[in-house]
Amino acid sequence: MAVTVRFFAALRERVGRDTLTIEGVPPPSLHALRLCIGARLGADLVAALAAPEIRVALNHEFIHGDPAFSDGDEVAFMPPITGG
């Protein structure tokens, strides 16, 4: 079982990588996921990933509220977007 985490743009640069695989039982909440990431890549990331401007997508959809994660999910942490 695994959840794939992706980081983009300024966050990717800060984390130093674009993908992280969280093996084992999927984290039961967004906060638990951030703690897992912090444990693997540095505790200061927990607050950085919870910053108000960071949006989170689950399987290519922005999440609202706190979803449960399942095996095979792809979670993305995204700094402010702008196209055009």
């Binding site: 992706r6 983009f8 743009a9 300024a10 997508a57 290519h60 959809e61 993305a76 995204m78 700094p79 402010p80 977007i81 702008t82 196209g83 055009g84």
Partner: protein
């Protein structure tokens, strides 16, 4: 209604896209509007060296498709097209093309403006600008959000 969305590194040929859309429509639509965004050579008096565009394959297309569906619900359109480049672009290079076709000019013009305004705040891209004063990640501006809000508040 035909939607087309293309994300690509390569440049696009506005004339070829225009001609192809006209060929498909063959007199059905009386009005075509388009918008093209180009990398500027200056920002805040700093010479821009390049603009790096990053995207999230799959989710980016989905975010643009959501914008086109809202345009389609709001205006009577015959076709919409968005081409958005990614990768490293230099000043004067084309970034994005929006094209709309409709029976009436108001629908074509307004939906074109709506789509590019919505891409500024809703399309999943990130832009890093390199200029003589260093690098910065570009965020949508407060003016972008004001324009996006205007579309939400405006009743037709």
């Amino acid at each position: 209604m035909s939607h087309a969305i293309r994300i690509q590194q390569a440049d696009f040929d506005v004339g070829a896209e225009w001609a192809e859309l006209q060929r498909q429509l063959a007199g059905r639509a009386g009005a075509m509007a388009s918008f093209c965004g180009v990398v500027r050579d200056q920002f805040d008096a700093q010479a821009i060296q390049d603009l790096e565009l990053e995207h999230y394959p799959g989710m980016t297309e989905r975010s643009i498709e959501a914008v086109l569906q809202r345009a389609d619900a709001r205006w009577t359109l015959d076709a919409t097209l968005v081409i958005h480049r990614v990768g490293c672009l230099r000043p004067a290079e084309q970034i994005v093309l929006v094209m709309t076709a409709a029976r009436h000019r108001q629908a074509a013009l307004e939906s074109c403006a709506f789509i590019i305004d919505s891409l500024k705040t809703e399309a999943v891209f990130w832009k890093r600008e390199r200029s003589t004063s260093g690098e910065r990640w570009i965020d949508s501006t407060s003016a972008d959000h004001t324009r996006a809000a205007r579309w939400r508040n405006e009743r037709q």
